[in-house]
Symmetry: C2
Subunit: 492 residues, 2 copies
């Protein structure tokens, strides 16, 4: 092996271990593993680990190793990718002063419970100063990182979806607005209510059993993964042998845990499908948030809200977990799980209105990143935009601006990846249908063929290919949101 | 502040953060937070973190800072202790070659599930090679660390109970043998069985409720602590605002979870009682395993198996959690929870026979550390010693040599601290009785006075005082096992 590369490996191991520790600290906090009073002290430890990562990325030794390896000709493809990704990290990090980086990490660890309490008590005011601090840090970091010719928002987005341009987003969202606002309006006026069986209370134990059943059915490997509960469903991973998903059970909303599990299950299959050869390295994880979201959305919507998927298991699911659905026909069930009407909560939104929740957040992020909007004004702006695009107004901030944890986690520029991912899912699904008989497989309960197709074409590569490279080699074209718009128009 | 000390602080933070991460990885694994298949990869990350600790402790920069600070006159008492403890760590660590240190950490992380499976399947053979490796590493590390005039076993013990000598242990155990072997023999011959009510099945939910009740009653702070389940009860801590205990529920052995919780609760109160001023540092934790065990044993035995404690809560506990005890008098209950007879499992042993479980492990550790005993011989030796001291022989290795996780965690020389701790508990209790009316407090449900007394005299100091210093300033004398022997003779 290349001698210099051997030196790099030690750094790769350290970065992976520190990252795994951070993942574990978050997991522990968000799945109620740690006591409430621990936050302030633990935040210090998390901040320290984070500053150790920072120190490694910024160490002159690592920089010189990476510079030397950039030109090396005797590296494997995996090794080249590892070097390329570390070089990117160096470029991103070296511009942030160490103290600011650490302080920001500590701030974020402390912000989570502040947001959580604010959401619980509908108390935006208590959260606003923290949000302001987070926004200010983000703006400052963007000013350090911004490249010539790059817009402020592009720099923010680049953290999560490298290579996407603001004009791509603008084009995408304006296509959505033009084609789908009239449809959303139509659905907003519907008077037939969501079927009763969608809100019949189902006891938590049955829901939990259904969660495990459906994850297993999708191909989630319980030897390499676990399911837990959290305020907000999410997926996280230490490596390809430790992939964790959470859900949240609502007695009077059984479909939430079900579809959130299918969604997080899609994320999880991506991480479980990473190749063993790269898993303990910096390229051994999903390539971008958009591609990640494409996998979760593909399972949740294109598969999980489709008829063929349910044809195979509907009667078993009714028998074993949702006996109140006996007597509800598959057709009515299908309509029930696809009932669309503008609502307030993003994570509970139907497929049709979902992208508008994202668009609203995108527009607000642009506002507070590029114009000096007072954070105290944001709830008002939020509510106005909901009125404008979805025709409804939150009655409080808990169901309004406080609903998502992203900003409080420092993830600004992140939301658009949800919409990008959903569009990528449609593009991939469209292509996949040409390659394999998806409906036939679903009817035959053959979830494995689908998982293997995705693993072969997407999962196993980790960060070795970016979103556009994956799309090019799979579908023969780059990102194209037409498939998504057509899919929605066709379905609704 | 001393300028050099400021530089040290950064190292103290890093060491604390790395240590907290390791604690969290173990917690996660032992409370079934992580998937089974994660072990091998996660062990690599844990090994890497551990080698980062090693690198810090061995860094020339830290060494020169510590050397400079050793002579500094402008340090607070806390700062002096922090420097002293880091200096000790440096001295211990600098003798171990980095690769061996890291390999040993990886080995330990991988050993845990091997032991777990071996115990489950009564398959000592599958575990023996790993145990051999661990013993070999330990012997090698001892050979690096051993100081002139120090015996091999003393070097092992020094990891866990600094300052104790082999002759102290020998004297202690021979006193036990002389005074208590005849008593154990007598109890071994008793024919009256353990009362039925001790083994009446109690559903897990009631046991869990009792666990939370009793921890709360002791003064466990649920804002700064959590309780979870594990194969084997233990206590762990990230800092004084995050202290975690585990227990294990057996339906047909309700007293196990109850007394293990009182035991772990005693450990937890120690860590919760550490002063805020030292908690995020290397001296912000219990001073030694013996002193730690003194706190758990004091609560479990001297308090929790005493009559006054139960006089206050017995009827409530029966009403709310153990209805099958209605009709059992307090006197009979007291006899039930103090029923003594030689048994096979250390963690389930009564007070009288407990120290002999320790003595057996101590003698076996001395054997494999100082004589070349084949690991395959150990189960036989184990069983012979059980026959000799307790008059009983395990029918399998699961209830024999495989019962404890300590050796598989690399903790060799650790067991005697259990006996030391139990003896220290008796000494402290004897002294405390002179200072406060313990029985009166217990009858008045005043657990707080006891907790505060211990906090004032022991807990808050962390590692600022060692076991003997605590005993000297509290009781006016050093370690004295007579109180313990007398306590046992008196009770049994």
């Amino acid at each position: 092996m290349n001698k210099t590369y051997e030196k790099l490996e030690e750094y790769v191991q350290k970065l992976h271990a520190l990252d795994a520790a951070s993942v574990l600290f978050s997991w522990d906090m968000e799945t109620y593993g740690s006591p409430k009073g621990a936050v302030a002290n633990t935040a210090e430890d998390v901040g320290t680990l984070s500053s150790m990562t920072y120190d490694i990325i910024n160490s002159p030794d690592l920089k010189s190793i990476v510079n030397e390896l950039k030109g090396a000709v005797d590296l494997t493809e995996e090794q080249q990718c590892i070097v390329r990704e570390i070089a990117k990290d160096i470029e991103r990090m070296e511009k942030i002063p160490p103290k600011e980086y650490r302080d920001f990490s500590v701030l974020l660890a402390k912000a989570h419970p502040v947001w959580e309490n604010a959401k619980k008590n509908n108390d935006y005011k208590s959260y606003a100063p923290v949000l302001k601090e987070i926004i200010d840090y983000t703006k400052r970091f963007i000013s350090y990182r911004q490249k010539p010719g790059e817009s402020v928002y592009e720099t923010a987005l680049d953290e999560y979806e490298p290579g996407f341009k603001e004009k791509d987003l603008e084009e995408f969202f304006s296509k959505l607005k033009k084609n789908l606002v009239p449809v959303v309006e139509k659905y907003g006026k519907r008077t037939d209510p969501e079927p009763d069986f969608m809100t019949t209370p189902v006891n938590i134990e049955s829901q939990r059993a259904l969660t495990y059943y459906i994850a297993d059915y999708m191909g989630f490997d319980f030897n390499r993964g676990v399911i837990a509960e959290a305020e907000h469903p999410f997926t996280t991973n230490l490596h390809n042998h430790d992939v964790r998903i959470t859900t949240h059970y609502y007695e009077d909303h059984w479909s939430f845990a079900l579809f959130s599990t299918i969604h997080e299950g899609g994320h999880a299959l991506y991480e479980l499908g990473i190749d063993d050869s790269i898993t303990m390295t910096n390229i051994g994880t999903g390539t971008s948030l958009g591609t990640h979201e494409s996998q979760s959305r593909l399972y949740e919507n294109n598969i999980g809200r489709g008829k063929a998927f349910w044809e195979a298991i509907y009667s078993e699911v009714c028998d074993r977990f949702l006996p109140h659905l006996k007597g509800v026909s598959l057709d009515d069930f299908y309509k029930g799980i696809n009932y669309a009407k503008p609502t307030l909560i993003r994570t509970e939104a139907d497929e049709l209105t979902y992208p508008f929740h994202i668009m609203i957040r995108y527009e607000i992020e642009k506002l507070f990143l590029t114009e000096n909007v007072d954070v105290m004004e944001l709830p008002k702006i939020w509510n106005e935009k909901y009125k404008e695009y979805l025709g409804i107004v939150p009655s409080d901030d808990t169901t309004g601006i406080l609903q998502d944890m992203h900003w409080c986690g420092g993830s600004i520029g992140y939301f658009p990846t949800y919409a990008i991912g959903t569009a990528v899912a449609a593009q991939i699904f469209h292509h996949m249908e040409k390659e394999i008989d998806i409906e036939g497989k679903l009817r035959a309960k053959d979830m494995n063929s689908i998982k293997e197709f995705l693993r072969e074409n997407i999962h196993r590569f980790g960060k070795m290919k970016n979103t556009n490279e994956i799309l090019m080699s799979m579908t023969g074209e780059g990102f194209n949101s037409d498939y998504y718009v057509n899919y929605l128009l066709n379905k609704f």
